[in-house]
Symmetry: D2
Subunit: 413 residues, 4 copies
Amino acid sequence: MSSKSRFASRPVKKVVLAYSGGLDTSVLLVWLRETYGCEIVTFTADLGQGEDLQAVHDKAVRAGVAKDHIFIEDLRESFVTDYVFPMFRANAVYEGCYLMGTAIARPITALRQIEIARQVGADALCHGCTGKGNDQYRFELAYAALAPELRGLAPWREWDLNSRESLLAYAQAHQVAIDANQDDKPPYSMDANVLHTSYEGGILEDPWAAAPDEIFTRSVNPADAPNTPQDLVLTFAAGDAVALDGKNMSPAQVLAALNDIAGRHGVGRLDIVENRRSGMKSRGVYETPGGTVLLAAHRAIESITLDIQAAHLKDEIMPRYAQIIYDGLWFSPEREALQALIDSTQQQVNGEVRLRLYKGQVTVTGRRSPDSLYQEAYATFGADDVFDQQDSSGSIRIAGLRLRLAAERKAKR
Amino acid sequence: MSSKSRFASRPVKKVVLAYSGGLDTSVLLVWLRETYGCEIVTFTADLGQGEDLQAVHDKAVRAGVAKDHIFIEDLRESFVTDYVFPMFRANAVYEGCYLMGTAIARPITALRQIEIARQVGADALCHGCTGKGNDQYRFELAYAALAPELRGLAPWREWDLNSRESLLAYAQAHQVAIDANQDDKPPYSMDANVLHTSYEGGILEDPWAAAPDEIFTRSVNPADAPNTPQDLVLTFAAGDAVALDGKNMSPAQVLAALNDIAGRHGVGRLDIVENRRSGMKSRGVYETPGGTVLLAAHRAIESITLDIQAAHLKDEIMPRYAQIIYDGLWFSPEREALQALIDSTQQQVNGEVRLRLYKGQVTVTGRRSPDSLYQEAYATFGADDVFDQQDSSGSIRIAGLRLRLAAERKAKR
Amino acid sequence: MSSKSRFASRPVKKVVLAYSGGLDTSVLLVWLRETYGCEIVTFTADLGQGEDLQAVHDKAVRAGVAKDHIFIEDLRESFVTDYVFPMFRANAVYEGCYLMGTAIARPITALRQIEIARQVGADALCHGCTGKGNDQYRFELAYAALAPELRGLAPWREWDLNSRESLLAYAQAHQVAIDANQDDKPPYSMDANVLHTSYEGGILEDPWAAAPDEIFTRSVNPADAPNTPQDLVLTFAAGDAVALDGKNMSPAQVLAALNDIAGRHGVGRLDIVENRRSGMKSRGVYETPGGTVLLAAHRAIESITLDIQAAHLKDEIMPRYAQIIYDGLWFSPEREALQALIDSTQQQVNGEVRLRLYKGQVTVTGRRSPDSLYQEAYATFGADDVFDQQDSSGSIRIAGLRLRLAAERKAKR
Amino acid sequence: MSSKSRFASRPVKKVVLAYSGGLDTSVLLVWLRETYGCEIVTFTADLGQGEDLQAVHDKAVRAGVAKDHIFIEDLRESFVTDYVFPMFRANAVYEGCYLMGTAIARPITALRQIEIARQVGADALCHGCTGKGNDQYRFELAYAALAPELRGLAPWREWDLNSRESLLAYAQAHQVAIDANQDDKPPYSMDANVLHTSYEGGILEDPWAAAPDEIFTRSVNPADAPNTPQDLVLTFAAGDAVALDGKNMSPAQVLAALNDIAGRHGVGRLDIVENRRSGMKSRGVYETPGGTVLLAAHRAIESITLDIQAAHLKDEIMPRYAQIIYDGLWFSPEREALQALIDSTQQQVNGEVRLRLYKGQVTVTGRRSPDSLYQEAYATFGADDVFDQQDSSGSIRIAGLRLRLAAERKAKR
């Protein structure tokens, strides 16, 4: 009994498929029906990926999915409010650079997929991630944490359609509607949401070859950006951005607005080799225009409002927190514990940050807050009354005591 | 008995003064002689600050220092080789941003100051740092760790000359040679070496006011940088940069060359509010052109040559390591222990990184290495032979086991 | 102007003194009145130290303190509920061993002292800690965090009474009531509360000399403990002990009851050299009978109810958390942030632990919980249905992938 | 094609089997020959498990293994020198308690197994660990790190002999020599080496049921231990124990001698529920007599010779280091990096520790060292000349500055 048949041998009654409408999940839809003879429910989350969701709906209908089995939902506000912003409170970057725009998008999709499965009485969940990447972990670990009673299907690890050609052949054989421009599909894979767009695979697989400029979709080449810098002011409340240039906005609105401005100035491109969860290295190219601005601004507002030790503690646990999210463990006790730590530090993270965007760069040029801990009276090197410099003498002597004792030991030996 | 007189009441025979030749240390020189009636030895380290060292020499002579008591030494190679590069192996940044160009320069100065003190039979060391900043910790903790038998003098915490006006008055009263252009001195304080130039105090003390463009001395305004990007290739061996565009260079040479190029492209400016060792917040503006390129390049070469877990471990201990250096604890068991950890990971950090400089930005565009752990055969989303996607199933199910058990517990309650 | 007179030169109107009734604070009381001519308010916290509080009251009266200026309060329940138990949720030990019975007692005393100061309109706070130990940090950092507007007085760092003889002379000269048995005072210093008793100084200062058996006051010598072991069962709810042998108890009650039993069995003695906050090493001998049992029991109940990653995260941050408390930073953003992390993991830490006490040792012999994550069906090495051993193959191969790639690199070079 | 046949379908020429001579690996030997028709080489490491190695040899001969294919080697000295002692330098315990006597024994066995495979030209390695435990990770991750070119066989995850009964039936059917007393085998599994003996499974699977006293093999019940305590003195050099009661010994000798003494006093029993690598909880009972003494002694000698910050850093990274070893990653860049950190702190960890063993307990009663950092002159609460208590004032005020600033902010709002 092969893996595949072993897989198929346990019956599935009704499955909720995370459905993008692209070739892959369209083939999945057919394959699931063929393999299991089960009812198919599709779920498409609008996270700001900018696709034509009516077209996705129509495609599902054409693929024979019952209309009341097609779920398409706008989750943008929840995505930014409950996932993106909490992550930014941590200043989270993976491996020093990556803002994790893909990793942070999977938990909400998996969660809603599970809720729909319970609503429609499904017994299985299915995603379209390959068996080599990170996303399979992110979906299936969310399934494990939230719905262990539901079966998780990962056809990419099971079937034989392991190349683009075989996929297309299967699609044709099963009359899967293929976009006219399928053959124009770019020679790399993409993923997008309101936080970022990612590019990997295909022509990007040589890490020495520069990423071609034409792949980018959300930002201009810095060389083509305006010759005049643009200044903007972000307002924070309790660690979250709440207004742009004085105009109050919802989380998704502020991120979208930042995307527009930053993209126009070529801000937010990133080209890295990262370590995947599965231990292989992978080249990824990212565009995160608004997020790049948001990170710089959040660090800046923290710089005047956050206590030094709270700030250093956050910096020390950040890499761990980022790895947890990257690895697909958003719904885990350790992420929740670290989030409790992070959130407990953000109440006073209020105020304004001024930033300048120019030719791909974002620079902080000012920060102020009613909750500022910065006090010119202390910081100044001019004369002051608030600080007794003699205190430093004692502080240094105490700090150096252990070093002197060790040096004396050394001298003695 | 006042602090000052208590201070002075213990005699000093011969003191080695860290001497820059500026107004502050020139006054110090006189004050030391007046207060202690002691012999003065001056030590000036050339760390690439770009000052006229002959002028410093002449000034010391005019101040009455015996010629064989004037030590001026070019420490640039040792500075970059033994301090800057080890620090960059850690990708060290303080509070997410600051490359610590000042903090890393103090240990070598203090060390050499001590060696000279032993050579000339001095019984005291003196620095010219104020009692509110970080540098007093850096000098005096080095003194404590390396020479507890020598007395450390910190006149700024002792005397009454706590404003610019009183300093100038003292200088005039004691005929300290003042540069003609003393009154033209910029309204902020600066510190420079081959790694960076810092600006703080004075007109920079309002963290909402943007740093004026005219303060910068090592980089052009990005708006004035060339309209054409410049690509360069850095070669690394065992974690250190050893060649630029294929030309082998010493550590100090490669950093100086990077400074030139990066400065021309407006790369390396930073404007932050940081937490000083003493708990107050301080606004600092920095120019670190070459170092900014070096950090990006080092991370990039690590990205293909360093094991994931070694890389993550380094990221997790980095904030602690950076704080240790910032706090003046270079010569400490904990810095040495962390350095042993860091250095043990760098043997395979060999290869080349291509970077693009443009209008203030540095971007990595390629990386390659004979020691690369990146393998296209594994990373590809195309068909492959080396990776059994079934392995992922097991890996995910094991990773999710604890989450399923917890979810089942929750469901049961 | 000497330090002392400088100190005294700023007038104090009314001071709240942390008052134990012992020689030291009795002298302090007189010294404060002499030095400042200020009103004195005494505050004595009953934390279970087992002293005669009526005698303390009478002594204050005899020393001339107005009756409505004498505050003696039983804080035992709050002490255990709000300080000891939160600390035990973290399994906190300082330097691998010490349960921090002194460090955890200072914050509540300082807090209540401050509240009383505000109530009576005092402008200063005073403690009786020496200038070499940890407690001065604990009191004064609490003052700084909670009442920066109040002046903190630390006479031990200011006056000249730096030996026992001078203290006694001062006491006699000022007619301070000295206990008849003052001369019988043990040749070391002690501190006690419901969590522990500490012994340090004097004859304990030689770390090679064994602590004499006669110093111990709360536990029998293990050799004198009963020859029959005693079993007990502790019940936990949300990480806190709530019942002993099935009998519900308040936090202070359960700790007191554990103290009784454990003390009878010689459990909880500790003899260490620890690193004080100020960098010197200090020999401390401790008795923490109930706390020693509580720590073992809490770890045991966590062992079956806490997720592995939450548990490991707690273990990794514990040393930092312990140091924060030891260093006197209970009232700090970093302690609060870590507490938020810790507390977020304790909801399911419910159940029972059976322990055996015998001749100084406490051993866990059983643990069970309605929230147990332990599942015999998974753990067994016998045949089982719930676990597919094939999953391990994949898990191991994925875990080893990076190692294989590195080994292949090594082989190639 | 089933997993098993897929497994068998790739031919094996010659395999090195980690062979204990027990039923399991005896059956493995036959099964390997049957399944692969391959040559069998057996390797048995003497790590101090106390088995009759001549009997193991004879059993292999009777099973048809060529004499020059039977490798039995005494690795005790290397085991303690190169694995146990480096681990103890870190004070490593897993999950607060477990001394990892099993985890630390696998790397050396795997390493030597690989060396033999290369020597005899084998193309495969085989271990006898089940698919649910930790040891499979430890063997196979060592194989991955050191010999990716060799195939690792894990028959327990492949075959159908998944119960004791089926194993016995297979053994009988294939005339595997079974010890006469096979049916007397204890109803739990054991593992032993010079560091520890472990017991798990079977009757121990109920974590509420106390471990029966009769399982223990290396220590007396504390109740049966001598009524007179025994004192001993351990001498350390560079962090390792080098002498017992003044008598120099090799690493394996000192551990063996400690085992004898500690076992006689009932020291070193542990009963825990631990988290396995695979996410399930498991009850383990351990006897680590000598190791328990060694850990206490190493902490004690560090307490007087190690710098506070080095000690705290070690404590903070220890849980991570322990997990790495527990998870089977001894041969990994991260273990090596942490070991470099740990080892860099041990040069001055020299001196003597006196310990008392009594009825199951080990207590430190004294420590001294030519490299001691403990200085009575500093630690004393009596009068002293070396420490200026005024320094503490400054130290505290600086430490509290950030707290005062935050409190003032709070008051203002």
